[in-house]
Subunit: 213 residues, 2 copies
């Protein structure tokens, strides 16, 4: 059985024996493992609690790293929250890649709408809100969350285009705004609800077209 | 020639002569005229300056009304700003109603994107941002801006549906999110720019459909 990522870094290495042992071997964990631990901790906090109680202090304690390390990697609480959240939802929001892109998109949109009702999803809306007046947060939002999500959607849509399910002349970047962007619109300005029928209509309108045939 | 709305209320009425004259006859203006004056003042400030310097104090002075009156009608600065902005952009964002709904929508979307680059448009994004954590502002946003804009779009789209330019089974409410909502998405999360080609593609994707024909 594989050693869980959280534990792996704590196994003593030969060097540990000859030097002053560090508590729980912290300083010896490779940076990428420490980073993965922090992201897992933050992601879990975001999904279950949102951002209100997410502080560098608490993350440092829970992930067993120093605050200095956290500040070195993430310039702000928002950046830390967004990076953790991106990784926490990566599997939930992964695209199916079957022969039916419409069904794959529909399925992903339903998962997306579900995750947006979690404390993490609500925190995301709050960060979009704050980023309207906080330029650093807006940059962090793009760099650590939205551009990555866009890229994953582009990949799936371009694959559908290569498969002949979306016409060649369509700019798939626009589809991201007409699918997920439309959902964000209803979440950020709550005139109309996000329902399963709404999500299905987003896909149907684009693939079938709305003009008489 | 008609008397401008701002002046009309200041013309003396017979009662004025027999009572202590009020400065510039303020107290005598019918409420709907005072209200229209205030909205015009606020709308102008929003379009040219945005919301940063928009205070009850300043609006009261510029529109020649008491702060008490303003507070009676608008519970917050955000509500006042949104009501003024709605009226300020009403003509610019009015829909054409020709035989070609695609062209009418395209034209309106270009006007909308233009107005969103003004200080007023940027203030709108800021208010959407603040409304993520301010429930009263979110209610004011819906009541005084977005639900009214939605209704005007629904009217134009339903007309197109009656004319047979949009299929009967299409829920036109979803189209609002796939047209203007998609633009808001690019304005609120600035991964991709709002270009003329983007605006045209929004309409084309929906009317032509994106699947091979």
């Amino acid at each position: 059985m594989a050693i869980p990522a959280q534990e792996r870094g704590r196994v003593s290495t030969p060097q540990d024996a000859s030097t002053t042992p560090r508590p729980r071997g912290r300083g010896r964990r490779p940076a990428d493992e420490v980073r993965a631990d922090v992201l897992a901790t933050v992601g879990q906090l975001m999904l279950t609690e949102g951002i209100a109680e997410l502080t560098f202090e608490r993350v440092a304690r829970l992930a067993g790293v120093s605050k200095t390390t956290l500040y070195k990697w993430w310039p702000s609480r928002g950046a830390l929250a967004l990076d953790g959240y991106f990784h926490a939802v990566e599997n939930t929001l992964a695209f199916d890649d079957t022969v039916d892109v419409r069904e794959d998109l529909r399925h992903q949109l339903h998962s997306f709408a579900d995750v947006m009702t979690t404390p993490g999803g609500r925190a995301l809306l709050q960060l979009i809100g704050e980023s309207q007046t906080d330029h650093d947060l807006a940059s962090a939002y793009r760099a650590l969350y939205s551009s990555g999500r866009r890229e994953l959607a582009y990949q799936r849509l371009r694959h559908a285009q290569r498969d002949g399910q979306i016409r060649d002349e369509v700019d798939v970047r626009v589809l991201v705004d007409q699918l997920w962007g439309a959902v964000y619109h209803r979440l950020l300005i709550r005139d109309e609800p996000v329902t399963p029928a709404f999500l299905d209509a987003l896909v149907d309108n684009l693939f079938d077209g709305i003009a008489p045939r």
